[in-house]
């Protein structure tokens, strides 16, 4: 009886591990394939049957990107995504604090703010384009940064409001009585208490700006082309530059890897925090 029970348990565990392995492989395979292509020569890329590993790891695909100056797109993306998420986080957290603690705008302002995020971007992209043309902001850092900041603000406000509401009010009141001004209370109490939420939200805003294709496509020309737009240049009429596509894609994935790895500790806590509170 007992042996049967143990066997049953072990069988279940094996099945579970098998499913987990298959699913993991399914998700990892495209990433693996992308990395491998980026190291292959053109011949190896089109080899039939497909080669699982390149004959020799070579970096010429990357070298080309550097030589042609295409990697500037990664730099552009870093500048635009980095500055815009920093700005959105700063402004958004202040707004969120105001909503959470001073009930600014009554009950409905928070909902109205997040509703801005629900508009399909394509519906507003052309009016924005015309405005940008008028103000001469097309193909500038400032233009993209402003846009991503504006688009990320509602998200940041909504998320941070939830995290701030969760901080016990007594902590802030205690700080106020103990000699802090509102600003000091914000930096010394709210900021450290909301740190997980801040980090998680920051990663998401960064990823949004990093991954945006639509606005970058329409609002850039030659000067501040971001990495997703640069990628499209390699899809030609007659042929596709698979080696460049793969190398550029890998370069474009690395910052996200880095961001998520650094923030992983906060991400898990931040996301589950939000999940509980809703």
């Amino acid at each position: 009886m007992r042996a049967a029970g143990t066997r049953h348990k072990r069988g279940k565990l094996v099945l579970r591990l098998a499913v987990a392995t298959v699913v993991t492989l399914m998700f990892l395979f495209p990433v693996y394939w992308l990395f491998m292509i980026s190291f292959k020569t053109p011949d190896e890329i089109f080899h039939a049957p497909p080669l699982w590993v390149p004959g020799k790891i070579q970096f010429s695909n990357y070298w080309v990107l550097f030589k042609d100056g295409d990697v500037i797109a990664i730099w552009n993306s870093l500048v635009v995504a980095g500055i815009s998420s920093a700005m959105a986080m700063l402004l958004g957290t202040f707004c969120a604090y105001s909503l959470a603690r001073f009930n600014t705008g009554g009950e409905n302002l928070a909902m109205w703010i997040i509703s801005q995020r629900m508009i399909p971007p394509i519906a507003v992209v052309f009016p924005i384009f015309l405005i940008y043309v008028y103000f001469g902001m097309v193909d500038t850092y400032a233009g993209l940064i402003l846009l991503y900041t504006a688009f990320n603000l509602p998200y940041v406000i909504w998320m941070m409001r939830g995290y701030i509401v969760d901080i016990p009010l007594e902590l802030e009141e205690s700080a106020l009585v103990d000699g802090c001004t509102r600003w000091q209370t914000f930096w010394r109490v709210v900021f450290p208490m909301a740190r997980s939420g801040l980090m998680a939200t920051a990663v998401f805003t960064f990823v949004f700006a990093w991954n945006d294709f639509l606005f970058a496509l329409i609002l850039t020309r030659t000067e501040v082309i971001t990495f997703p737009v640069m990628l499209t240049h390699y899809f030609g009429g007659q042929s596709n530059f698979w080696s460049k596509i793969a190398a550029m894609s890998v370069l474009g994935t690395i910052p996200i890897f880095v961001a998520v790895t650094l923030m992983q500790r906060y991400l898990v806590r931040g996301i589950s925090l939000g999940a509980v509170k809703g």
Partner: protein, 366 residues
């Protein structure tokens, strides 16, 4: 050290009138306890004194200075909260030092004060720990330590013990009282627990629906309550209130219960009651003033009532016996060995010299 003087204080929450024109003075060095049922305004009053709520009218003076428009940080007060309000990301040491750092006190002075306070509270060994590693009682000590090091002119406590279990609460209550004796700063303490109020206070301020119902020393309020509300709020088990009539019999005045029992009042207690005879009254008698007739010495001037023991609750030292008298359940506090079995018929001696008579129309004690 400071006197707190409040006059004509009003506070509204939207349509709710939370404080209705309070006048109150807490003397320098006094331990005042604000007590009352939930929603009576006691916490609002405390938070308004702290500056965490803004008053809608009236004046607050701390140490002679009007603080109406002063930020909490400028009022030189320290506050202990119900949920301790410790910063989870700081060690005990840093938690206690928090208020000093925001006031730019030097690190050497901070260390001295934190060590002193930690020694006083018996938490010197915990300074390197984080709040999550502490028990509830230890956390509350840290919160008190954070208030002590500030050397503020006024201490505010907002139900600081209500999250602790009963045993710890008794222990901490004693420590807070000792603390007050040692540092002799003016303290204001909010609680809904009448035992805390009675044991800690130099003066109890009993609030009801945004007004001060009565204030005075604990014994004054216990023995000479102004209203039925005060009488029933203080004392455990609470006072028995029995509907009755006051009648004149021969020369004496007597209380007649609805079930017909006649309880004669001693002469000195009957004085001044002539105007109330032949009227409905509420007869109030504390459980301690009912005893079992024939056991021990019944005080002179006591009346007799016979009733069945419906419910017996022994506490070890005393036993609470509930019977139906005059149509309502009445609790008596008897000796532990007076009663053992439910359902027996008891002869009670009622100490009529200690009874309260309340006008049911106004709730005022006659």
């Amino acid at each position: 050290m400071a006197e707190v003087r409040i006059s004509g204080l009003h506070k509204y929450y939207g349509p709710v009138h939370a404080l209705k024109g309070l006048d109150l003075t807490v003397a320098d060095g006094e331990f005042a306890v604000f007590v009352g049922p939930s929603g009576c305004g006691k916490s609002t009053l405390l938070r308004t004194i702290a500056g965490l709520e803004e008053q809608d009218g009236g004046e607050i003076r701390i140490g002679g200075q009007v603080v109406n428009d002063m930020r909490p940080r400028d009022r030189n007060i320290a506050m202990v909260f119900q949920n301790y309000a410790l910063y989870p990301y700081l060690t005990v040491y840093d938690n206690i030092a928090f208020g000093l750092r925001s006031r730019k006190v030097g690190e050497a002075e901070i260390k001295k004060r934190v060590d002193d306070a930690a020694g006083m509270l018996g938490i010197a060994a915990l300074l390197a720990r984080f709040p999550r590693q502490l028990s509830g009682g230890q956390r509350q000590r840290v919160a008190i330590g954070r208030a002590i090091v500030r050397q503020a002119q006024l201490f505010l406590f907002d139900e600081p013990l209500s999250n602790l279990d009963a045993k710890l609460r008794d222990e901490m209550r004693g420590e807070i009282k000792r603390l007050h004796r040692n540092i002799a700063t003016t303290m204001i303490y909010v609680t809904h627990d009448q035992v805390e109020a009675m044991t800690l206070a130099d003066r109890i301020v009993l609030l009801r629906e945004g007004r001060i119902e009565q204030q005075g020393s604990p014994l004054e309020l216990f023995e000479r309550p102004a209203t039925g509300f005060v009488a029933s709020f203080l004392g455990s088990p609470s006072i028995n209130l029995i509907p009755a009539r006051l009648v004149k019999r021969d020369k004496a005045v007597a209380v007649v219960l609805e079930s017909g029992e006649v309880l004669e009042l001693p002469d000195e207690r009957a004085r001044g009651l002539e105007g109330y005879t032949e009227r409905a009254v509420t007869f109030g008698i504390r459980p301690q003033h009912l005893s079992r007739a024939g056991r021990g010495t019944a005080p002179s001037g006591s009346a007799r009532i016979t009733a069945t023991a419906d419910l017996i609750q022994p506490t070890g030292t005393r036993t609470y016996v509930t019977s139906r008298i005059g149509g309502v359940p009445v609790t008596a506090e008897l000796d532990a060995h007076d009663v053992h079995e439910q359902g027996i018929v008891l002869d009670y001696a009622v100490d009529m010299s200690r009874c309260l008579l309340i006008d049911p129309a106004t709730d005022k004690v006659i």
